[in-house]
């Protein structure tokens, strides 16, 4: 479904600040894979997301989605197949547009944007039904401006919108990190429900190791631009946070004082 081959990215090449952000990354996701990624700050998790979405171009390597090359496609064309939820709850929605207008934008993801009315009666019914599944009462506030919603509500709406048209790949970039624990938990539950229900192929970056273990069917650990650990479903199910830390120590050969280092 998603195939990365030999991805390499240098930041500030040729200068004293040169940094290997990603170092020959090979990664294949199959349809329905839900992969969680952990790693300390600067490990290359966000760079990986940006390279898949097209926000950053790799120096080397190829990207394929559904057997088509995406390597040289601009970000907005890739976005027809890639849904994305950002860390900032404000980033995924347009604040001065109403909830239904935001939904109409999500609806148009994989289609040509024409001169048809964005929020037609038919679509309004569809938006109502899908918003009702969130159990947040947003379906009764279709004409409210999104800027009036709370951070948690906006992130739930972002998630619904990102997954609305069943994208080939869903990128979740620490999308619960900026929320309070209760909201973060409800967004985590919602993520699980949506990804399972729609059988989406998803890639989730998180700093929360428990979340990385609980969600998905595969776990990656990144460090210094490399994937240093790739655990399949069976091993992942038996995993605990101390196991994960021990594994990290073993691979890196460094004694970690606490999970603070990983959590950054």
């Amino acid at each position: 479904m998603l195939k990365l081959e030999g991805i390499r990215k240098l930041f500030n090449p040729g200068s004293p600040d040169q940094k290997v952000a990603l170092d020959s990354i090979d990664l294949t996701l199959h349809a329905g894979d839900f992969v969680t990624i952990i790693g300390s700050n600067g490990a290359g998790k966000s760079t990986l997301m940006n390279i898949i979405s097209g926000a950053i171009a790799p120096d080397q390597g190829t990207i394929e989605i559904e057997d088509k090359s995406f390597t040289s496609l601009p970000a907005h064309k890739r976005a027809r197949k890639i849904g994305r939820v950002f860390q900032d709850p404000m980033a995924g929605t347009a604040p001065t547009l109403t909830i239904e207008e935001n939904m109409a934008i999500a609806y148009s993801r994989s289609r040509r944007r024409t001169l048809r009315i964005g929020v037609s009666k038919q679509r309004k019914q569809l938006f109502y039904e899908r918003l009702a599944e969130l159990n947040l009462g947003l379906e009764h506030r279709l004409t409210a401006k999104v800027g009036l919603l709370s951070g948690g509500e906006r992130q739930a709406l972002s998630l619904l919108m990102a997954s609305f048209t069943d994208p080939a790949v869903l990128l979740l970039d620490e999308h619960t990190a900026a929320l309070d624990p209760a909201r973060a938990q409800s967004i985590t539950d919602l993520t699980k429900r949506i990804v399972e229900q729609k059988k989406l192929t998803a890639l989730m970056v998180t700093h929360n190791m428990q979340q990385a273990i609980d969600l998905g069917n595969r776990l990656l650990m990144m460090d210094q631009g490399r994937i240093i650990l790739d655990l399949p479903d069976l091993q992942k199910q038996k995993l605990s946070v101390p196991d994960l830390l021990a594994e990290f120590e073993r691979i890196r050969g460094v004694k970690l004082s606490s999970d603070r280092v990983l959590l950054g």
Partner: protein
């Protein structure tokens, strides 16, 4: 006095077209577009030159709209493909248009006194029914049509992507819309409207002049800001109506200022002051309201304690 007011409303309606254009860039796309000073003249120059060479007034006016769209898309391409800062892209196009406008006209001023124009045609055709209000009625219908057209456009799928581009560019990009294209479309339509206003103004005042566009961006901004401050901006339909009201109100304020003896050469200063007042006053009023509210609340608390 009433005739002076009629004149203000007429030119206010012409400026309403300009203000709708400025609304589209300044508010919808969140793009401060200074092309306006150039493209207003371009519209006037194109229409006047075509009229002087014997073309039908509708053709001349339509051509002005198209040329305005071209001017706007150049600013758009400079900004999106050339990665030039928005303000600078607009200024560059504006300066370039000054020479282009002289090229179009061939001289600094094209008089239309003996030509058949939309204004003379409207006056002769509709005078029996509307008398002196004929031009105003036609302009009002025209402006309302453009307002409704813009309301409709901003609710279409393309229009929504334009609004989201001005609102949250990262977001709309992540939903597969081409934000560069959205900006070029918005700037083209905006400057098309501005040029249309220029074309009407040339026919209204009976000439096109190379300096007729100076200060138009400020008048456009003044209309948008005054209109929104007075009439509100909660929805698109309301904001576009407010912008039209703002343009007429602005013209009335200027007419009033001239009537009470303000020197015409001070008008640009007064316009700037009006815009500053309209920008500052809503915030100031809010903070006053808040502080008064606090005083009341704290007063109430004291009362309860006592």
């Amino acid at each position: 006095m009433i005739w002076a007011m009629l004149g203000s409303v007429e030119s206010g309606l012409i400026f309403a077209l300009l203000a709708l254009g400025v609304y589209l860039t300044f508010r919808v796309l969140n793009f401060p577009d200074l092309t306006v000073d150039g493209s207003f003249t371009t519209g006037g120059a194109t229409a006047a030159t075509l009229l002087a060479s014997g073309n039908h007034p509708l053709v001349a006016t339509g051509a002005a709209f198209v040329v305005g769209c071209l001017a706007g898309s150049i600013t758009g391409l400079l900004h999106t493909k050339g990665k030039i800062n928005a303000l600078l892209a607009g200024i560059l196009t504006m300066i370039a248009l000054y020479s282009v406008n002289l090229r179009i006209m061939g001289r600094a001023n094209v008089p239309l006194l003996s030509e058949e124009t939309l204004v003379t045609q409207v006056n002769t055709a509709l005078e029996p029914w509307f008398g002196d209000l004929a031009l105003m009625a036609v302009l009002a219908v025209l402006v309302i049509c453009f307002k409704l057209g813009m309301d409709w456009f901003l609710r279409t799928e393309t229009g929504l992507s334009l609004r989201a581009t001005g609102d949250n560019e990262q977001m709309i990009g992540s939903f597969g819309a081409n934000t560069d294209l959205a900006k070029v479309i918005g700037l083209a339509l905006s400057n098309g409207l501005v040029a249309l206003a220029g074309a009407w103004m040339a026919q209204y005042q009976g000439f096109a002049d190379v300096s007729m566009g100076i200060g138009m961006i400020v008048i456009g901004l003044a209309s948008v800001i005054i209109g929104e401050a007075v009439f509100g901006r909660s929805t698109v339909a309301r904001a576009t109506a407010a912008v039209i009201g703002g343009a007429i109100l602005y013209k009335l304020i200027v007419a009033f200022a001239l009537r009470i003896g303000v020197n015409p050469s001070d008008l640009k200063l007064i316009t700037a002051l009006i815009v500053i007042a309209a920008l500052v006053s809503p915030k100031t009023l809010q903070s006053w309201k808040r502080s008064i509210g606090k005083q009341k609340r704290s007063g109430g608390n004291r009362h309860v304690k006592a």
